[in-house]
Symmetry: C2
Subunit: 226 residues, 2 copies
């Protein structure tokens, strides 16, 4: 990478966009904002915006997410950089996409003056197409999520700290969009050391309450789950 000390002659902007996923009522959901003005008025979009000159990319992603949706303190992982040649009608803006999995109900949304609405949408029933090139970003993020749950322990960030194995299986089934064999699933997650019994049991229900489990490791690690 070679530049000199003259001002850059490029005319390419740098933005960040956030794909925030959760699982609610057996559906994979994504956080979207509805635009109030501009070329995409009324369309829905991923929360995102331009990076400030002295601002780190990660910090920009966190700031913009907080400003636009009220969501803070989530672990944002850089996903991919989209080249933006087709994305913005007025300027070329490359977008560094981030993604995160959050527990259902684990974030509190705030609508701001700048947008019509902020909410999670079921991926299958969300408004389309999204603004800019956000369809491409969301498609990529969903694939990466499906891939990541298969070879890492990332699912920990979607679940409460303690959960039943049925809840865990249901979360995997929702993200992967397929059903899993109950017996094999339990054998797998326990033999892998992905989760461990907490010693506590769920409350409520008519039957004997199910055992509650927790993730053995809540730092990101590579684990071949499927």
């Amino acid at each position: 990478m070679v530049t000199d000390h003259r001002r850059l002659r490029q005319n390419i902007g740098v933005a960040v966009d956030n794909c925030i996923f959760t699982v609610l009522e057996g559906c994979l959901q994504v956080l979207l904002i509805q635009m109030k003005r501009g070329p995409f008025e009324d369309r829905w979009a991923l929360p995102g915006g331009l990076v400030e000159d002295g601002e780190a990319l990660d910090a920009a992603a966190a700031r913009i997410l907080r400003e636009q949706t009220g969501v803070s303190h989530v672990y944002l992982e850089q996903l991919y950089t989209f080249d933006g040649r087709k994305r913005d009608p007025y300027n070329r803006v490359v977008s560094v996409a981030y993604f995160s999995l959050v527990p259902p109900g684990g974030v509190e949304l705030q609508t701001t003056e700048k947008y019509r609405a902020v909410r999670f949408w079921n991926l299958d029933r969300r408004p389309r197409p999204l603004a800019y090139d956000h369809e491409d970003i969301l498609t990529y993020a969903q694939k990466r999520l499906q891939s990541k749950v298969q070879y890492t322990n990332v699912m920990f960030s979607l679940l409460p700290s303690k959960f039943t194995l049925s809840e865990l299986q249901s979360a995997y089934e929702t993200v992967l969009k397929r059903s899993l064999d109950k017996r094999n699933f339990r054998k797998k997650v326990l033999s892998l050391g992905l989760v461990e019994a907490s010693g506590e049991r769920a409350t409520g229900g008519r039957h004997r309450p199910a055992m509650l489990y927790r993730f053995e490791n809540t730092q990101p690690e590579v684990v071949e789950v499927f």
Copy 2:
């Protein structure tokens, strides 16, 4: 991501940098260029440079690699975007890093007027520190490579189309920087369906020539190797 039709007020440049790895004589090597002028005169760097306004990021990575080193027709995979706040003494330039594994001797290097030299360096004996933030990029790329060989079939791009199991094991040992048990290694790669016998045998040597193998799939795929 929200912009309007005024010219962007940001002053952030967008560059690409390429980490091209190979394995030669049991060493992991990386392709570097030596700067001829500018603030990093005589220092070594990853081949990289500024993206043109209308140019796709992937295309820029391929063009710059070709222009600076003569290397073309390699599969460049986007790695990570570095935020460049500390990287360039004159301008902030975010860098989209790409990486590739190439077979030893599979690329022909050309030195151009613009650089003093172009060559592969053993990672352990390369000149340091590299220019800009290229130490950070190279460290990240090496980690990603070590991780990727463990859960994908990416090693196919490092080896010739046919190879012995000893050559395959040696390539893994070089990238992972640890020795592997020969019997377990063979059992693993064969049972996984990662490689298959080609039916041919290596030539030369005093003993019975070893069987030549090939990768079953030379499209990128997830395979838990270790």
